[in-house]
Symmetry: C2
């Protein structure tokens, strides 16, 4: 291979410093998931194609990475009939191919690729719950931190391989779960030193209720898509879009309160109650919101703020109750760093009915960027050795190795420079690796059973015995 090797578009190598920082975040998430009673599961990287296909809409199907059947896929088991379309492709371009030919080709793709890479963690979780339902105690609180793959066009901050960190409870409709998930967000971000995040909350039933009271239940999606843009295009813009979508002027008058929706949480609840008094579903949503927010307020949050945001509509096709989204502190301009909600029929797609689920997800890549920008990673996060023993030959290396062995037994990270090369080169190596101490073991040290310990930051050097060495490196 002549040219320098590379990796596929949209994928990443992670250097030691990057892995350590990512692990630091994952560890904080994981520790708090477990503290809140969630248990880990892991599912295979690839699933049977029919487990995934059709679960994420047409766009999703297109973005799922498909794996070629192994062996020579043309020979597998039964002979595979080639679609006639293949012939047509020899003469036609992609644009002129017919819908029928396209369908036939998709079927052909399905036959030569029976497995596909995980697209998210939710569908595999639903599959897991149904497959293992007899081994699981419900309510089942599970967390899962694994990579997923999407054949999206790569762009800044969007990758084809990325980690998802999900915690979900399945098998309970209790709103205490929502209360705890808000606390969980607060606890994780507080433990990462990321103070002042905003946990936005809404409820699908409130959005449905609004659409109902303005007589636009059939336009729920259009209505919420427009409302969601309030921040960006302002009140006039939103109204214009709603009218374009066929929502009446009269309806707009009714939802006027939403455009000046402000005040304390209680104020907001009062306004919503007034607006939605004629909608049973809407009032149910208000009641749920009130329960969650009252209890969260009573328990108190450490550093996060809970904010009722009636424009929040994320994953509307999916969620049936609470909707969550977490925004980083205002000083950092970045999209949401977490999100989630309740879905009343998580496992129905695999034939297990009446399993309500609620869950939240943490956006690892974005949290990483936020911590980096706010300089919140602890200095000690990197897996660097505390000291390097310089190498002056085999006799000295053996003397050093004996100390190294004893230090490691004390859980101190130390290493031996492997080669007896010029001392300047060894110091340079220690410097570039950001190792804070060097230990010198020459004839004099061996004779006196001591160690010359050099602080590579200050340049200070002291002669110590093993106890002194250990104590200096323990910190």
């Amino acid at each position: 291979m002549a040219s320098k090797p590379s990796i596929p578009q949209g994928t990443r190598d992670f250097s030691p410093a990057e892995v350590s920082k990512r692990q630091y975040i994952i560890q904080a998430i994981k520790a708090n998931f477990e503290k809140f009673g969630f248990q880990p599961i892991e599912t295979p990287s690839f699933e049977n194609s029919d487990t995934l296909m059709g679960k994420y809409g047409e766009e999703g199907d297109r973005l799922i990475f498909k794996i070629l059947n192994s062996g020579n896929f043309f020979f597998n088991k039964n002979k595979i009939e080639l679609p006639e379309s293949l012939e047509a492709l020899q003469t036609n371009s992609a644009e002129t191919i017919s819908l029928e030919q396209r369908i036939e080709l998709n079927k052909f793709t399905g036959r030569i690729s029976e497995k596909a890479l995980r697209y998210d963690l939710t569908v595999p979780f639903a599959r897991y719950v149904v497959q293992h339902q007899n081994e699981i105690e419900f309510p089942f609180k599970r967390y899962q931190i694994q990579p997923v793959w999407r054949a999206d066009r790569p762009q800044k901050g969007r990758y084809r391989e990325f980690f998802q960190c999900d915690a979900d409870v399945v098998g309970s409709k209790s709103l205490w779960q929502e209360v705890e998930l808000v606390q969980l967000y607060d606890t994780v971000f507080t433990s990462l030193g990321l103070e002042g995040v905003t946990i936005k909350i809404n409820n699908r039933k409130i959005l449905s209720g609004i659409a109902e009271v303005i007589g636009a239940s059939d336009k729920l999606i259009d209505f919420t898509v427009a409302l969601d843009k309030l921040d960006k295009i302002g009140e006039d813009g939103v109204k214009k879009e709603m009218i374009e979508k066929g929502i009446s002027e009269e309806a707009l008058v009714k939802v006027q309160p939403l455009f000046s929706f402000s005040g304390t949480f209680a104020d907001k609840i009062n306004q919503l109650s007034e607006l939605l008094s004629s909608s049973e579903e809407g009032m149910k949503g208000v009641e749920e919101l009130k329960f969650i927010c009252d209890n969260v307020a009573d328990l108190g949050l450490s550093t996060a703020v809970l904010d009722l945001d009636v424009t929040l509509a994320r994953g509307l096709n999916y969620y049936t109750g609470a909707i969550f989204e977490v925004a980083a502190p205002k000083t950092v301009s970045i999209g949401s760093i977490g999100g989630g909600g309740r879905y009343d029929d998580l496992t129905g797609i695999f034939g297990l009915k009446n399993m309500s689920g609620v869950g939240i997800s943490f956006g690892l890549d974005r949290i990483y960027l936020v911590l980096e920008e706010l300089n919140l990673f602890p200095e000690t996060v990197a897996a660097t050795s505390k000291a390097i023993f310089l190498n002056f030959g085999d006799k000295e290396a053996l003397y050093a190795s004996k100390a190294i062995q004893k230090l490691r037994q004390e859980n101190i990270k130390v290493e031996l420079y492997p080669d007896n090369v010029k001392v300047g080169k060894q110091f340079q190596y220690a410097d570039k690796r950001l190792i804070p101490f060097a230990v010198i073991t020459g004839d004099q040290e061996i004779a006196s059973n001591t160690y010359a310990l050099k602080n590579l930051v200050t340049g200070e050097q002291v002669s110590v015995d093993f106890e002194g060495l250990k104590n200096a490196l323990l910190d």
Copy 2:
């Protein structure tokens, strides 16, 4: 979907108990890798096909999982010419297809799948080193713990997705690395409580030397493959196979010492020195072995045993110096639980010459089986909550939640049963989840600001204040 969902052959779901046990092993490996100065990297799950293809032999190429180009792969960029063989496949069976057709089909496969799943961690590591050579300080001590995928026929203990745990040093020929890798094996297995593993060591140069002195350098592979079977087919069987492979009777006389190779390490080294005195390469191997084993002996191992095994030939095509393999204690019958060695030209395949590497790998799945069989997993390994607060209604749940919040701040894992259902059902849930304590908060407890703490193992129940509760759950 009517039928119960399933996962692809050779893949696995991991339950909470299994994930916790796997994480326990990974954590021990990781902590010791870092203690020995190794730094983590991560590479993408899929690489460009040409990074992987041709690196693992013909068999390996066949076992690499290939990913279909995304989008509709037939339309991508340029029209893809279908091989004529496709036509032939309509009428021929796999057996009757010609070599030319097979090659043409392989090329076609290459065009429709430009990416492939990682087959091991070594080739991606070599690719990483070459690609990032200007950012890396050499010698580079890296570890990597990630899944790999192989389209092998699944069977007991052989999976299509499994984790590799590798530590390698690249850019130093120092034998102190080999010394440290032996210590690393000892340290990891000791920390897992797995005492008495045997670390077998050999050297490729010794095998080459033997083949040289018996005049069978051209039959090195045949010779070592036969010698490797000594345990299974005995001395006579090995000799018979060697003769069949064209090794002379005269040569067999010369290698006779190998069949009764025993005694102390020094004895073995003496026998080898005698046998190999006429081979420069062989004597180099003896010298390397002696250096490693002398220094390991001088430093001492905690619980493992280092054993010189001249029949050890694993990865012969690959290794150029030391060869390692770790066997579980004799009471457990299982294959090797670790292996590794030195390869003098790790990165040459990607154009960076003269980079010697040496590394070892831990077999996660087999270590798991061994710890399970010897009952060595600590009882506390599972991520189970320490206590569950029973749910008697919203007022009680709020009172409980306040205690839960404070306990979590003390890093105690506790949870609230989410629903106000029959208490028997809640106890049953705690029982099946193996949660050791239940906390009851009724009117009486709320009134007296106390908690009824029930030990679910002994059945004993006490009334405690918050401090008492915390102390009971702390340990």
